[in-house]
């Protein structure tokens, strides 16, 4: 940016010099030209410098305005970025960031990464004092929580149980985290088990020393758990466990589980889609709590165990409210306190008391709404429809068009998607769905009957029911990771990669570097916030300044010929 600034200054000087230049000759036109001989050549110079300010030259002012606008556009970048500063331009404030996320416990008591970090921190005050005797030091812990410690406060004795994304360490550098020194830090020391990463100036404009601790350790983690089959799929329900491995590959891995009716028998195999990954599947027959564990778990134990609740894997709980249509045997009545049952009811009952055009009027859980549409329908062309939607599977749309149901007559609220529409004014809807949580609106099937309408109605209805049932309930599978002590760890998977290579120790001589010319001032100053966060509290004006400069350039080009004629007149 220095170069840009110098360029701007150079442009300013060049513009002034250009306009101080005056022509030494005149362009003359005489009426006797046809009779004149060739005039002798002149050796005079064509231009000279005249130290008369070109105050009356509009083009001069336009060009100055262009340079000024470009400088204004560049100003925030010149202001916000770190520039070399003269020594002693501002105080040295060192922010020490300690990673307290769950992975810092790796290594075991007394030799964990957290212990190593504490060892590093113990030596920091001496290093800081040697490099900058007058420096102010402040402490910030970044783990499950992000907090600046008061001056003199003790460091935490152990890391958090929960994990944290790497971004939390970067957020800890922000001046918006007000440290005990009460000023924008000029230096930062980050002690963590994550690998060093570049910190851009908008995030932190000072000098960053990244100290990684912890030798790499291989780790295995339960990455995801899902339920396959069951319900109306026609196959037995299975728990599918996906396992990720970091660092050295495992020759084998054991997956054990326990459900309400006893141990789960997992079949383990390599994951063909991921390097060093594993898949384990076990049939599940009973609803309730299931615990799954892998062994060996590797360096970090917070990702080796999950607990999850499984709804009835074989049956689908429904709240059946269609008296004219008996519920199929595979559907079981919803328990009284069940919140995951599928409501099967007429649309009017589902939205009773509410405006169907509003999303809030519809059930929050899964539902299948029906409307009395199958009457003697007049042939109607099919309008827009979702090609290959599961609800339309096996449907003969030609037969449908020959005798369709009357459209639902419902104004679809936000979140609902039409699946099949009629080619009529307003494109009325026959079938509509909601994706999350699943819901569907279909014509009420005609019980019995061997007509086309009866068959179409049944196909559509049960397709919709299966589609809604396969969507899974709100609490169907929400794995909760636990550590060896059974404690729940949030963001556990953020800590799984304990096999990161250990970087070389950093150069602490940078503690002696002069602070960069970042904005000095209270941390909540808009300029400081803008410079540090890179997102500015206000709308950036730089593009408008550039646009204005371009407009001025166009004006300069447009008036050039006119102004030149005027100058010569």
């Amino acid at each position: 940016m220095w170069a840009a600034g110098m360029l701007a200054v150079g442009a300013l000087v060049a513009t002034v010099a250009f306009h101080l230049r005056k022509q030494t000759f005149r362009d003359i036109r005489v009426s006797v030209a046809a009779l004149l001989p060739e005039p002798p050549q002149s050796k005079a110079p064509k231009t000279r410098i005249s130290l008369v300010a070109p105050l009356m030259s509009l083009r001069f002012w336009i060009r100055l305005a262009v340079i000024g606008l470009l400088l204004m556009a560049l100003a925030p970048f010149l202001w916000a970025l770190a520039l070399p500063a003269a020594p002693d331009s501002r105080a040295v404030v060192v922010r020490i960031v300690l990673d307290t996320s769950a992975s810092m416990q790796v290594g075991g008591p007394g030799a964990s990464r957290f212990d190593q970090a504490l060892g590093v921190l113990a030596g920091l005050p001496a290093r800081i004092a040697a490099a900058a005797p007058d420096a102010c030091t402040e402490w910030v812990v970044a783990g499950a929580r992000l907090a600046a410690l008061d001056a003199g406060a003790a460091l935490p004795a152990r890391p958090d149980r929960d994990g944290a994304p790497v971004g939390r360490l970067l957020a800890a550098l922000s001046p918006q985290v007000a440290g005990s020194c009460g000023a924008v830090p000029s230096h930062a020391v980050v002690v963590t088990d994550t690998t060093p990463r570049p910190v851009s100036a908008p995030v932190f404009g000072g000098h960053v020393i990244w100290h990684q601790v912890g030798a790499p350790l291989p780790n295995a983690a339960i990455d995801a758990v899902s339920l396959l089959g069951g319900g109306l799929s026609g196959v037995a329900a299975k728990l599918s466990v996906r396992i990720a491995v970091y660092g050295a590959d495992l020759d084998t891995i054991a997956v054990t589980g326990q459900g309400p009716e006893g141990p789960l028998d997992f079949a383990v195999r390599r994951d063909p889609d991921r390097d060093r990954g594993w898949l384990a599947e076990a049939e599940v027959r009973t609803a309730g709590r299931h615990d799954i564990e892998i062994a060996p778990g590797g360096g970090f134990d917070g990702d080796d165990r999950v607990t999850l609740q499984v709804s009835d894997p074989s049956n689908v709980a429904v709240d059946w409210q269609l008296p004219a249509l008996p519920a199929p045997a595979r559907f079981v009545a919803a328990p009284r306190n069940g919140t995951d049952a599928i409501r099967v009811a007429p649309v009017q009952a589902l939205t009773a008391g509410g405006d169907p055009a509003r999303a809030e009027s519809w059930p929050a859980g899964r539902f299948l709404g029906t409307y009395a549409g199958w009457r003697t329908g007049t042939p109607t062309e099919i309008g827009p429809f979702l090609h290959q939607h599961p609800i339309l599977a096996g449907l003969n749309l030609d037969v449908w068009a020959a005798g369709p149901p009357t459209p639902a007559g419902v104004t679809l609220p936000p979140g609902f998607v039409p699946v099949l529409r009629a080619d009529l004014p307003g494109a009325p809807v026959w079938i509509a769905v909601r994706e999350t949580p699943r819901g569907a609106i279909v014509p009420t099937p005609v019980p019995g009957g061997d007509t086309d309408q009866a068959r179409l109605g049944a196909v559509v209805f049960f397709n919709a029911l299966r589609w809604v049932a396969e969507g899974g309930g709100a609490d169907a599978l929400t794995p909760v990771w636990r550590d060896a002590q059974g404690g729940i760890g949030q963001e556990a998977l953020s800590e799984s990669d304990t096999a990161r290579a250990l970087a070389e120790p950093p150069d602490y001589a940078r503690l002696g570097d002069a602070p960069r010319a970042a904005p000095v001032g209270p941390a909540d100053s808009p300029v400081v916030v803008a410079a540090s966060s890179g997102t500015g509290a206000e709308t950036p004006l730089a593009p408008w300044y550039v646009l204005a400069a371009l407009v001025m350039l166009l004006i300069d080009r447009a008036i050039g010929p006119v102004w030149r004629r005027r100058d010569q007149a």
Binding site: D27, V30, L35, L36, Q41, A44
Partner: protein, 333 residues
């Protein structure tokens, strides 16, 4: 409108008010009538051919009016006698203004502007005399049209023509074109008795003898052909002498692209060429009806005169301009 050096504007109307012009006209009319004096540069025009008297021949009289028999009878040696006729005072004034692009120079006091000033002054005086006035152009956009000027409306029309011509913004290509003259309409419009006045700098070439043909027609019968020569060379010469310059080409003449400056030799050569050109014209159009004063009407020799200076120059020089006497007075020069 052109601007003077101080940014004020020069107008199309002549900087000579009507009262002053009227006084000038009357002053010129109080001169001694032609009786006993020659009128070699001024023809009394009229429809009547009634003989009035014999008088002694003076240099400049039309040799066709010499009464040889009476001269022989007089027997005074070299003295000849001419017949003088009664002539009606009403005559036709035909004013022709040269509208070449070169007449739009020099800036800011264009010869074209001065030409229209002179034309308007003369027209006004002629109309006050009760003369008929016709107006035409040479090298103009519409040379075929002859305008009848018979009062304020006609004068306004002439001013509009002047405004339009002075407002031209020619390109370099326009300047380099050779101007074309059309005179047929002018020749056809000349009445039998007329004073034909051409206001020009006479620096144009004679294309295929057209101007010479006009001159001949304008000197036939009882017509007189007046040339009001405008001379801007002193002003343009002063502009060239002011420092290095880059000369723009025009009317087919091109100059080198670099800087030039005048030398005494260059100016001497330029003077000689201009004088030779004008001499050539005098020879080509010489005739008994030609009235072309020796001294041209010269623009001020100042490079950038102010509006006030220009007005002062016109007001002081026009009343004593040689061509004016020939036009407005009953006396020849």
């Amino acid at each position: 409108m052109a601007r003077g050096a101080n940014g004020q504007q020069l107008g199309v109307a002549p900087p000579l008010d009507a009262r002053r012009l009227e006084r000038l006209r009357l002053a010129l009319r109080r001169t001694v009538p032609s009786r006993g004096l020659g009128a070699h540069l001024h023809r009394r025009m009229g429809q009547s051919m009634e003989f009035r008297e014999h008088r002694t021949y003076v240099f400049g009289d039309d040799i066709r009016k010499v009464d040889w028999a009476a001269s022989a009878r007089r027997g005074d040696g070299d003295d000849l006698v001419v017949r003088a006729f009664e002539a009606e005072e009403r005559r036709t004034l035909v004013l022709i203004v040269d509208c070449r692009l070169a007449m739009a120079l020099p800036q800011p006091l264009e010869k074209l502007r001065v030409a229209f000033w002179i034309a308007q002054c003369v027209m006004q005086a002629a109309l006050a005399e009760g003369d008929k006035v016709l107006f035409g152009t040479l090298f103009g956009p519409d040379d075929t049209r002859i305008h009848k000027v018979d009062g304020p409306r006609g004068m306004a029309g002439v001013r509009q023509i002047a405004t339009n011509l002075l407002a031209r913004r020619p390109t370099q290509a326009d300047w380099e074109q050779t101007p074309k003259m059309r005179v047929d309409a002018l020749i056809d419009a000349l009445p039998p008795v007329a004073a034909v006045v051409v206001i020009s700098d006479m620096l144009f070439p004679d294309q295929q003898g057209r101007f010479a043909a006009l001159s001949r027609s304008a000197q036939k019968g009882f017509r007189t052909f007046h040339v009001v020569e405008l001379d801007s060379w002193p002003m343009e010469r002063a502009a060239l002498e002011a420092g290095p310059f880059r000369l723009a080409g025009q009317e087919g003449r091109r100059f080198r692209d670099g800087l030039s400056e005048v030398t005494p030799g260059f100016l001497q050569e330029a003077d000689a060429r201009i004088a030779a050109h004008l001499r050539g014209w005098r020879r080509r159009i010489a005739g008994p009806g030609l009235i072309w004063p020796r001294l041209p009407y010269a623009l001020p020799a100042t490079v950038a005169p102010t509006v006030k200076e220009v007005h002062g120059w016109f007001q002081s020089t026009l009343p004593t301009a040689p061509f004016l006497h020939g036009l407005l007075s009953r006396v020849g020069l």
